[in-house]
Symmetry: C2
Subunit: 226 residues, 2 copies
Amino acid sequence: PGKKVLIVYAHQEPKSFNGSLLKIAVEELTKQGCSVTVSDLYAMQFEPRATRNDIVGHLHNSEAFNYGVETWEAYKRGGLSKDLVQEQKKVQEADLLIFQFPLFWFSMPAILKGWMDRVLVQGFAYDLSKAYDGGLLQDKLSLFSFTTGGSKEKYAIRGDIRYLLWPMQHGIMHFCGVKVLEPHICYAPEHASEEKRKEMLTAWTQRLKTLWKEEPIDCSPEWYFK
Amino acid sequence: PGKKVLIVYAHQEPKSFNGSLLKIAVEELTKQGCSVTVSDLYAMQFEPRATRNDIVGHLHNSEAFNYGVETWEAYKRGGLSKDLVQEQKKVQEADLLIFQFPLFWFSMPAILKGWMDRVLVQGFAYDLSKAYDGGLLQDKLSLFSFTTGGSKEKYAIRGDIRYLLWPMQHGIMHFCGVKVLEPHICYAPEHASEEKRKEMLTAWTQRLKTLWKEEPIDCSPEWYFK
């Protein structure tokens, strides 16, 4: 109640299973009294490419463009492009970040990766020696909620699904100081029966009901690779 | 000699260290008699977003847009957008794919992830039971060549750098049936002395000289997580 949630959503189709998961999260969290904001990346036509356009005005070094340095400098002088400033404001205000997406190639769709690349700039999300438990986005939670194309069994054949969570949960969220809740994975909804799909949607609603009581995972190599 | 190489390159600045690594690869491989093609993603303003625009003409199901299904169907009837067809042709002809990029958040920059998401569609790169060693892009090699922001020591503190290679090398290339050579990693060139940078460039030239004699890695969980 009173908590602020940002859902960063990366699916093209509102009628998709991801769209249903989004709708459930908005409804359930709103019902709890949370204030929910959605960044609907495809609808926003969010730009995933990290380019010179992200810096308003002059460059720090126009001789050789260095994206990391330029966005860091631009952040410090308030010179990042408007779309980035808006997303950073949403992140700053949020107590919980939910990423809702279909798994593409063992990772996020490019449009969501572009959100990470462009929004979480140095100075805002981390700094020189401010990373991991010292990252700049303290006191926030994150949750990766995604659907897969393949079945749970298919993923298990060649190693644990947790292996692919490492770059996203540890490499991005933990790096910025954000705590990580257990991921929420819906396996192969496209190949599931209508009944099974409903069960998966109900399970998400149920989880959200007690979400604020959950403890973050221990985001160390042991959790991922035992 | 006579081999075909596609370099998919994701850096905004030709004068960058990544730009130098690209230049070296083009020169050295051309000198060996290879035919080298470069997809310079930022220069091409390559589109990373997976949208309806990737399908020319009618949709298979216009009621609810499903990117995976639509691109699969479009591939079969020759209805993918021109930029994708061009990239697929380059991949089809290549004996070796080199991905040259700066590591962004334990992974590829979004523009390169978008290349993977959009180019490697079902029917072209894999199919129903045609994945991993049965993937459709047989008899090809791949090599991930990237620079990092942090030092080798920083990456080693919290687990092995190989952990983050899993989704890229195994989840994408191995899934498509492409064999994987040892990655080529240049640690923190931005913080290195001019001498050290030259050494790193020389090491890349040297490696390329005997590249065709290399054996692919065993792309199993053991290689990544021991």
